[in-house]
Symmetry: D2
Subunit: 332 residues, 4 copies
């Protein structure tokens, strides 16, 4: 249950009430709200008279649900806004991993040259083998920060585990929580206390219900800026790396108020069909796309098969723009 | 291996050679071809001098592969053509089941009024329970045939099992082999001997490899007109009925020469997102869409939750048309 | 709903009532029963006074449910009985495919020498590629019949599609409906009208609910002897061929009255772990095991990797016997 | 590649060589070993003459593979040993969550009364919703430590994320890494540096390859005591909570040298079939079982449906003992 408290109740009192009722307490759109388990179906007696409005839910998708807030949330990425009624589809590009200054410079120039705003690049790689390239870590973060400085770009990078979440929060404009870290409460709780947008990727074995509930960890902690990212689920089909779940996207668009960014690169795992998939994604009227591109994919230290060349990235941008226009969106 | 025989070898001799080598024999684009297992990697000595060209394959996706024929096959549905370089996306609509003359009349009028050409409707329903509505059977087929007559429409309907495949072949313009019947060799072999287009649906537990190999049963028997239909695979996600596999579609478009029709209705299982999914499908540059619509979905005898109203169907058509245009296709 | 009619109502009258109420009618344990959809929750007025007992169900698992009949059904395979309170675990062995007289003779001798009763062997192979070995067909059936004659064995073989279901029914003692044919109503309805045991395999993409409902097609048609066979489902894991679903077996044992035979050979797909898996299966207290064995697996025309040698089969039998004993069962 | 260095090379020199070759360095069975990526197929020139023996691998399952070490590793849990040639199947019991002193006291008494050695109980619960019971945290750890003290039991508890991994390491005898935390390198790397056994659960969307590679993170860091735990994977089947993958267990037993403990409670998710599944597990000749039991499951704060009563736990122990005996193992 979500309870919107009377305006007569200030933040301090709300906080006390939350503690008393073992509820979460957030300040949302300048009103105090308490959030309890969805198993609570009636306003507790001790809160009667203190509640302006309340919402009852079937399950723990509460703050994220369109029942609580009908319009899609607005996310501010510096001076760029997505979600809400902006009809913006942000195209975020860059390499799988930050590998060197030269490489990330080329990537930054690509993004800039295309009139885009946000550069991606992994620093702490959640590799499944200890014997693979593990990313440049803090050094990579600093290279990204340098790109931000030099090119006026926003940067997004992934936090792998809770041991370095503070570093990532400090150095990036959007915090990416990867598919393998999605249940990590060390990360979720740290991201709940900050003011920056968080891009939460769906785990490849994660149900839509669990996915949205992971977002609730962040929302109920007071960070209202969560973006969902579908990047493919694991199915029996192995000709492609994963299976992009656009039925799931339709579900999320219908039932949640969270903006959605799609990642066709990781879903397909091969360069050849990324452009077509990107068109499909954009046609659904989504808030953004994550596309991996590398100055020279053949020498990439991770995900070599799925990263586009820069030429292909430019081509993709020009191919998806008319599709976005056909559904009333524009690529930014 | 596929072997294209010399022009000096006529159909009769080719047939003898096929028998001798336990190969399939087809007449394709006015040339005699033999097809053996892909495990054959070299032209047999006894065929040397008789072969114009041959293709070696890694696996049993042979006639369907772009290595054998680079361009997408052309399919003739009466005077309408899809595939090839037509850039046509056929929109096929109609109810899940043919239920009565009145109902199918309204459906036929809808299709006609929208300038469309092809009406769908199930007669032999592959229900998973014996206690559900099983379809009108032959009576339904006759109603469809009546619609064809009265409205000049083409009709497509599903064959459930081999016991009535001949009836379906007789009465419909496109033979639909459903997801649950996809491995049925009684059906596949019957469809291999005819001259009508066959729409082969992917089983919900079927790999892409098996799916294309099922098409090979038809192609190697001499029917060149096979259309693949992706309609959602079964995954761990249950908020939606199935998971539409557009990564798989990207794979099939890249590797096979078979036209592709998508069925978002069965994939999602709910009316609310069909239009958005349909846009995503169309943006990939596909050969067709199957959309379920019912004059009054609330009384439908099967799949009530996913059938669009006729108003929604009209809306969908108008919503997908600009998307098709944005990728150079048109809805027919 | 299942309705057990008064003893005053004879078969003929029951049949008329069934027709009138669009219900199935069976003679079960010498009583007339009608079966309607599970959506019927109350005895229709027109049947009041004619019903001895009735059962209401949540879903269409009706005749197969333990609510209708608490004890596991008894299946007669000639003079051998499984299910009921027999505590028999039948071990059925033999090759994937019947390939030649010599081969099947050796197989028959193996079964006989081990004091076993039932020989398996595929004649109509449901291969996924047209370019693979398709089985000996009718010729294979005749070889099996010859083995039955010569060795006094029972035989089980698979029906691939409805075009030859009558042949298989004629020549085998247990009719096997394979995983890919499980939804085939041409087969299910044919098997509903006979008096022989039917072994129904679960499709690899089939839910437990659909699996039991497929059995209901046979049961509601009047054949009471259905055995369920779990043989592995398709999951994201590809190191093994399929994933044997013993959680599903626990579910079926708890909720249905149908005997259960397990097929670890197809599930794992590799010889190395068949014996361990067979022990696991037997420890659950099951009604039977299907194990593939071949006189020389290295030359087998299908499923070469998973067929045991005859030595391994003998070893397996001796390894599972004490496990069966430890749960109160015996291998027969 | 794994390289076993000459005995002439001491730990210090080995460490230098490791750094130079960007390899892992461990002291295993009193010999210095270097481990590189499996993509290295030949001993580097600069190491020639310094290597006693080396192993080349197809993939990054290296230290865990039976090619490197044929016998199953031995794990010491205090004075109890599992794995190796002990033929011990450890039965670990206790509640899903530590809820109170009274509750965990009863659980400890149960374990003790059954002659068992190890008590389980969750303190940091990896719940998927922020609105569910999250566990007692450090307070719970202290209750477990108290049980160890009072009853002479070993305790196992789960680490949820890297923020409290040190606390869990300090207070428990076996560190459990749960299914949702399995890719967490913050946890894996912390567990690589300790000397206590680690029970690593397979993620429900995790391939066997990735599962073993997660173990390699711990093994390559120098902790040789890793136990694998299969607890069910997520499939399309939803009648049961997960699908216990015993085919996968057969694979792991064949290919890896790591002991295996199975968790049928989480796999099935319902009390009714736990005993039967436990028998199946034990029949495979495994190293242990994790079974959830609660003094009063009806009031349990998590996983209420799957926890056994104490009576059922006692019954289970007595039911699995003869099965273990039938395969030459004993329950400890």
């Amino acid at each position: 249950m979500i309870l919107k408290l009377n305006t007569s109740i200030d933040e301090k009192e709300a906080s006390k009430l939350a503690e008393k009722h073992k509820a979460f307490h957030i300040n949302y759109q300048e009103s105090q709200h308490l959030i309890t388990s969805s198993s609570v179906k009636e306003v507790p007696d001790s809160l009667k008279g203190k509640v302006d409005k309340h919402w009852v839910f079937d399950n723990d998708m509460q703050l994220a649900s369109r029942e609580f807030q009908a319009e899609t949330r607005t996310i501010k990425i510096g001076d760029l806004t997505i979600g809400g009624n902006t009809k913006n589809t942000i195209l975020i590009g860059g390499p799988c991993s930050v590998e060197s200054l030269d490489q990330i410079q080329e990537s930054a120039r690509l993004i800039k040259s295309q009139g885009l705003t946000t550069l991606r690049g992994g620093c702490y790689k959640p590799r499944t083998s200890p014997y693979s390239f593990q990313g440049l870590g803090l050094e990579g973060l600093k290279l990204l920060a340098q790109m931000r400085e030099e090119h006026g770009l926003k940067v997004i990078t992934e936090v792998r585990d809770a041991t370095h979440v503070d570093e990532v929060i400090e150095h990036s404009d959007i915090i990416q929580i990867g598919a393998k870290a999605m249940y990590d409460q060390g990360i979720l709780r740290a991201c709940a206390k900050i003011n920056k947008p968080v891009l939460l990727k769906r785990g490849f074995g994660t149900t839509l219900q669990e996915f949205v509930q992971a977002a609730e960890f962040i929302l109920s902690g007071g960070n209202h800026q969560v973006i969902l990212c579908e990047r493919g689920i694991r199915t029996f089909e192995t000709k492609t790396r994963f299976t992009l779940d656009l039925c799931g996207v339709a579900y999320l668009q219908e039932h949640t108020n969270l903006p959605i960014i799609l990642d066709p690169s990781h879903a397909l795992g091969y360069r050849y069909g990324i452009e077509k998939l990107a068109k499909a994604c954009v046609a659904m009227g989504i808030d953004g796309l994550l596309i991996e591109a590398h100055p020279d994919p053949s020498v990439a230290k991770s995900d070599a098969a799925q990263q586009l060349t820069h030429e292909q990235f430019i081509e993709l941008k020009s191919a998806i723009s008319p599709v976005a226009a056909s559904v009333g969106y524009k690529i930014v």
